[in-house]
Amino acid sequence: MYFTVFRYILVDPWLAPKDSFGCFASLPESMPFKACDSQKSFISMPICDLPKSVDEILSNVDYYIVTHIHPDHIDMNLDGTVGNPLDKKIPVLVQNEDDAQIFKNSGFANVQVLSENGLYINDIKITKVPALHGTNIPCGSAMGFVMQGNNIMKELNIMEATVFTSPNPLTLICSQNNDGTTNLAPICFVSYLSFNPPMIGFATGKQSHTGKRVRETGKAIVTIPSENLAQTVMACGSSTGENTNKVE
């Protein structure tokens, strides 16, 4: 799934449940598709479950791109029609007129043939490029495509997001151990919270020794380490102060 600022584009939407399609060797004569590699002829398909429900995958989709019409790229019926689970009002981009006709015969209202000249979806240019389907034995015509634009954004998880916000704040939280010594812990989840009174917040893992010490003593010194402490910071982050005196 590609997410642009304005559009969700679903590519090769084959949405069948795991194992529901069977294997190429068991296809009826009305579906004249063969696996070029004989070893693959007997693999039950799809080989894995979808990562989300079909409804979730199809929600918010603005365009479909189908690189070629094979039954392991688009859901196919015995009569040769395709795309049963899809919303047939949503535009489909295909590689050639033959594939466009199949989608039209399947009830899709807006089918466009993608060309080498490309087309624009808002400020995203999508261009058809040659694709080689099958490395040793040709497996039929297929297309690749290139998306170009200044506003293409991809979906991230929170760890990936932290790369985008880099550099991130880095502190050494100083707290007091039971024996009166100082404990050091590098913490990046830190923010100013209030000017008046001056307040800050920092988050630690639930099992963090530093967090426990701050909650027990009610005190912490949040420090910004200087460049001379780079190695110290890395070393402090690789152990827990519960059993180790990090100052030493």
Partner: protein
């Protein structure tokens, strides 16, 4: 390490900024605990360049302005 007046906690000598803080509230937030603190005193040394976490949190280095 060096002592801080009115605190029993010491800090590293090579520190750019120290915020001496008192915990006011702790709050469970997902898989972390947020500690909300009032800062009793700020101490700074502008001659020292502060460190930041880069590439997410995998690298430690100073920042280059501009």
């Amino acid at each position: 390490m060096m002592p801080i007046q009115d605190s029993t906690i010491q800090i590293p000598v090579d520190t750019r900024l120290a915020m001496i803080a008192t915990l006011k509230q702790s709050l469970e937030v997902g898989d972390h605990i947020l500690h909300i603190c009032q800062v009793d005193k700020f101490l700074g040394d502008e001659s020292k360049k502060g460190l930041y976490a880069w590439n997410g949190f995998s690298k430690v280095a100073t920042a280059i302005e501009g």
